[in-house]
């Protein structure tokens, strides 16, 4: 359900007309929160902000608006993943995944067992795989919870024996990044057919985000000290195919997002754009947000011609905001206040 801006502008003016079309028109909104961006705010208690694709409608805390103030999506909501019409909102503070209809945001279920500080999830073959940090003291007790998407029952847990944060699925295998608050150094590969670890790949300090393109896994590593680098792993043999080390001035790079042939990432308040195949990187920012918050880039995404970046308030006791830029020329399109600690963008 992705729409470009022009098309949206067109239907915004003829909403009545559109709604008169037949029900099976795939462009008709599937709920109040279709055709827009969901911004996850971690809280305190987590909230979700809806921003329509035309950026004209902004609604804070849509979950409470739909489900009542007595219901909540838990403390420190970390991320959202999707399975068909459902959105799974992960709360790491409340060990809970709230399942809602992604377009109406009506709550349809929740998962509260076998989760200990859950972080990120992916969906493959009728199952969800969710990483858990478990205790903060131990870096070897992290695990993955396997959830049956039909019953929402937990089927099993997979010990990772390394930090387990963001993950992607490719060809039935899970690639789990082990970067956690500046620590960790491996990507763990897990076979979903037997839930066994296939291998662990040493990538360097703090692999914090990862993307797959054309049989290649791209892992961005960046920590408080040392140079950042982009590591390429050949998925066919899980071998490192190369790496690009960034200049020292680009330490603690975060938020790798590949769109087409371009890889985007952030360093502090700056957004960078490189060719996926680049063999060297220079410190030339594509966009300078000008933000002086240390929490600029708390959330980041590139989607449908736009770059979204969020800024959490420095003291974390005020609402944050997001900046939206045009992907083609880096022009600032809008700046929108959202909730407390905005950490991710999701697209309906």
């Amino acid at each position: 359900m992705k729409f470009n801006k022009l098309f949206l502008t067109a239907i915004a003016g003829s909403l009545f007309l559109a709604s008169c079309n037949s029900d099976d028109d795939s462009n008709a909104p599937l709920g109040s929160y279709d055709n827009g961006v969901l911004v996850l705010n971690e809280g305190g208690l987590g909230t979700v902000t809806y921003i329509s694709d035309d950026m004209q409608t902004v609604q804070q805390d849509i979950f409470s608006a739909v489900n009542g103030a007595d219901s909540d999506i838990g403390a420190y909501t970390q991320s959202i993943f999707f399975a068909d019409n459902r959105a799974f909102i992960i709360s790491n503070g409340s060990n809970k995944i709230t399942v809602v209809n992604r377009y109406t945001f009506e709550k349809v279920g929740e998962i509260t067992t076998s989760l200990t500080v859950p972080r990120y999830g992916v969906v493959y073959d009728g199952k969800a795989y969710v990483t858990n940090s478990n205790t903060f003291e131990s870096s070897t007790d992290d695990f993955i919870t396997v959830i049956n998407l039909n019953t929402l029952a937990v089927e099993t847990t997979i010990p990772v024996n390394n930090q387990a944060e963001r993950l992607i699925e490719e060809n039935g295998k899970l690639y789990v990044s082990g970067g956690f608050y500046g620590a960790g150094h491996v990507v763990t590969v897990i076979n979903t057919s037997n839930n066994q670890i296939v291998t662990t790949i040493e990538v360097g300090e703090a692999p914090n985000s990862l993307e797959e393109r054309d049989g290649m896994l791209y892992v961005l590593c960046g920590s408080w000290s040392g140079a950042s680098k982009l590591v390429k792993i050949q998925l066919s043999n899980n071998q490192i195919a190369g790496e690009v080390t960034f200049p020292d001035t680009m330490g603690n790079a975060q938020n790798l997002d590949i769109d087409g042939g371009l890889a985007y990432f952030t360093v502090g308040p700056k957004i960078y754009k490189i060719n996926v195949g680049a063999t060297s990187v220079t410190d030339t920012a594509f966009i300078e947000t000008g933000s002086d918050s240390d929490y600029i880039g708390y959330g980041f995404a590139v989607e449908d011609g736009r770059i979204y970046i969020s800024e959490a308030a420095e003291d974390f006791t005020s609402d944050g905001k997001i900046f939206i830029y045009a992907e083609n020329n880096g022009a600032l399109l809008d700046e929108i206040p959202v909730g407390l600690g905005p950490n991710g963008f999701y697209f309906n």
């Binding site: 838990g74 709360s91 409340s94 060990n95 809970k96 205790t135 903060f136 500046g182 003291d315 005020s318």
Partner: protein
């Protein structure tokens, strides 16, 4: 827990033979540890909460002060989690808690958690508004709270036993023996408090889960008259408590916190015709354990042991001039799961002066310098003057420079601690008007305060969080206090009230600090007629911001809470009192932190034996 209970019951039985041989009560001479509180507080506000107020509010120090002082508290619901004080718009680390003259704020985090101080343990609690760092050291910026034990000389043998039982399976027990002769006075208190604290949230399907707590302790205060000129005093206390931290949502990870604190203070006082010299030695032990997940036995901890040596020399030059010099040396050893073993020595010298210029005018002044290799310590000073043109009216002016030193966590936290921090420092001035006539005391004080180099933990480039001296705060406001006692025949009335108007702004953003209400007021009436007594106490708390940008969408609403109780004394020479108390009698819905509701109307029965 069972062992602790048994110990307590055993202790009670031990006292039985003593109860039988009680003596006649003679006039007594009270011994205090905190002399400066009386001698050098003439130009500032001091609220003294006596035994009867303490016994009515024996749940926690946070509740007592919420209802009886201008201090604002926030906590995760009733008696749960950490209770943080905000005094005159300052942070929790800018209120000093002083135990018999010794500052006991945690070396680890710089504050006292007011839910870990049992009101039961003390004979008197006082609240002193405004700067006090010259006398009490770090953290006495917004003000200080003084916990006092007061043994007394003179032949007496008193026993008191209190038991409370109430809603949410809350139980409180306290035994106090107060024994004295011409030469010796001792006062022993043992207490045990516990609560399931699983109250229902008003108008919600939820309840306070994982809110249970218990704490127990023994406090001893004693004094021995070696000669007419020499006294030896000993104050000691042990506190052992465990609190579970209530959950924000039912599936949160359950956590709990254990505190173990032990404090010892020995003092030798030598009194001459013109001078008094006091030599003090104190040993303080603080330990916490934090269990981040109750499914596991793992915990984080920190322990600090502090040894303090203090020499205090007071000289009365003539009846109008009194000087007091204090030298103090403290050595703290800290270690913990996130702090390597660290050592910190601080020496200080203080000079205080009190001078009565005429029957109408007196002034006081003080200066203090600390020396330590851990940080640069500013010169602290204070001065105040009181002018009393009429017997019913006086005006007071006071100004001071105060500070809050960086804590072990701030300096030495393994991931991010900043050894280059400076102390937070504050300048303040106040002017107070006090009216006194036939049993009524009323004062209005305006103050202005600037605090700079406020330490805040921010995300950093070398670690995930890193403390820096970053903020500046400007606070000003009004504090009004009322105290009235009236008898109409055998009907006795005691009325107390406080009101605080507080503006406390971040200088950069010009926003009001979060969790600082503009308005807070308390009022209480105690009534006695022969053997019957009744009391009502109430609290009004204005709206507070919970967001630093003062976004009003998230404000906590203003609220008013009323507690009421009645009691009746049976018996003649011995007293058996039965009391009944209703808390939150109006069934108000309120919270001091976001989504942390307090209980609706709830009840207590109290039984007191004085033998």
């Amino acid at each position: 827990m069972t062992a602790r209970k048994l110990l307590f019951i055993g202790f009670l039985f031990l006292c039985q033979p003593l109860l039988a041989q009680q003596d006649s009560i003679a006039l007594t001479e009270v011994v205090v540890g905190d002399v400066q509180l009386r001698k050098f507080s003439e130009t500032q506000n001091v609220i003294s909460l006596n035994d009867s107020v303490l016994r009515r509010n024996n749940s926690s120090l946070a509740t007592l002060l919420q209802f009886n002082s201008p201090i604002y508290f926030k906590e995760n619901g009733l008696g749960s989690g950490v209770a943080s004080a905000s005094f005159r718009g300052t942070t929790a680390q800018q209120t000093a808690v002083v135990w018999n003259g010794i500052n006991i704020n945690s070396q680890v985090n710089g504050q006292t958690d007011f839910n870990t101080v049992a009101v039961s343990g003390y004979d008197a609690i006082s609240v002193r508004s405004g700067g006090g760092s010259v006398i009490y050291g770090s953290s006495a910026i917004g003000g200080s709270v003084h916990l006092s034990s007061e043994p007394s000389f003179g032949n007496h043998f008193k026993n008191a036993f209190d038991a409370n039982y109430g809603s949410f399976d809350t139980q409180r027990y306290r035994y106090k023996a107060d024994i004295g002769s011409d030469k010796f006075g001792v006062n022993v208190i043992a207490y045990y408090n516990r609560s399931a604290n699983d109250y229902d949230f008003p108008n919600s399907s939820r309840h306070n889960s994982n809110g249970q707590y218990y704490n127990s302790g023994i406090n001893i205060a004693s004094a021995y008259k070696v000669s007419n000129r020499d006294f030896i005093k000993y104050f000691g206390e042990v506190y052992d408590g465990e609190r579970h931290f209530p959950l924000l949502t039912p599936t949160d990870t359950k956590t709990k916190y254990r505190d173990f604190n032990a404090r010892n203070l020995v003092e030798w006082t030598n009194v001459g015709s013109k001078f008094t010299s006091r030599l003090k030695a104190a040993y303080l032990h603080e330990n916490y354990q934090y269990f981040e997940n109750l499914d596991s036995d793992a915990f984080g901890y920190a322990t600090v042991e502090t040894v303090i040596g203090k020499y205090d020399f007071a000289y009365t030059i003539n009846p109008d001039v009194y000087v007091n010099a204090i030298v103090d040396y403290s050595s703290a050893n800290g270690r913990g799961s996130d702090i390597d073993s660290r050592h910190r020595n601080i020496g200080s010298g203080t000079l205080l002066l009190r001078h009565k210029l005429s029957d109408k005018v007196n002034y006081e002044a003080g200066i203090r310098q600390e020396i330590t290799n851990n940080y640069d310590s500013p010169l602290l000073y204070s001065a105040g003057i009181r002018y009393k043109p009429f017997s019913f009216y006086s005006v007071r002016i006071n100004g001071s420079r105060n500070f809050r030193i960086p804590t072990f966590n701030d300096l030495y936290w393994s991931d991010g601690g900043n050894p280059d921090l400076k102390p937070e420092s504050s300048y303040q001035a106040e002017i107070g008007n006090e009216f006194k006539f036939s049993g009524v005391k009323f004062s209005v004080t305006g103050y202005y305060m600037k605090i700079r180099d406020m330490i805040q933990w921010l995300p950093g480039t070398i670690a995930s969080w890193h403390p820096v001296n970053v903020n500046r705060v400007e606070s000003y406001g009004i504090e009004a206090l009322l105290e009235a006692k009236r008898n109409f025949g055998r009907h006795e009335f005691v009325v107390n009230g406080t009101y605080a108007y507080t503006v406390s702004e971040n200088e950069k953003t010009e926003n009001q600090l979060i969790y600082v209400p503009y308005h807070k007021a308390t009022a209480s009436v105690a009534y006695g007629y022969r053997k019957f007594s009744a009391n009502v106490q109430s609290l009004f708390n204005g709206e507070v911001f919970t967001r630093s940008d003062n976004n009003t969408r998230y404000n906590l609403d203003a609220y008013a809470v009323v507690n009421a109780g009645i009691g009746y004394d049976f018996g003649k020479s011995d007293v058996y009192r039965i009391g009944f108390q209703v808390n939150n009698a109006l069934d108000s819905e309120y919270q001091t932190m976001e989504r942390r509701p307090y209980p609706g109307r709830h009840y207590f029965v109290t039984l007191t034996l004085h033998i």
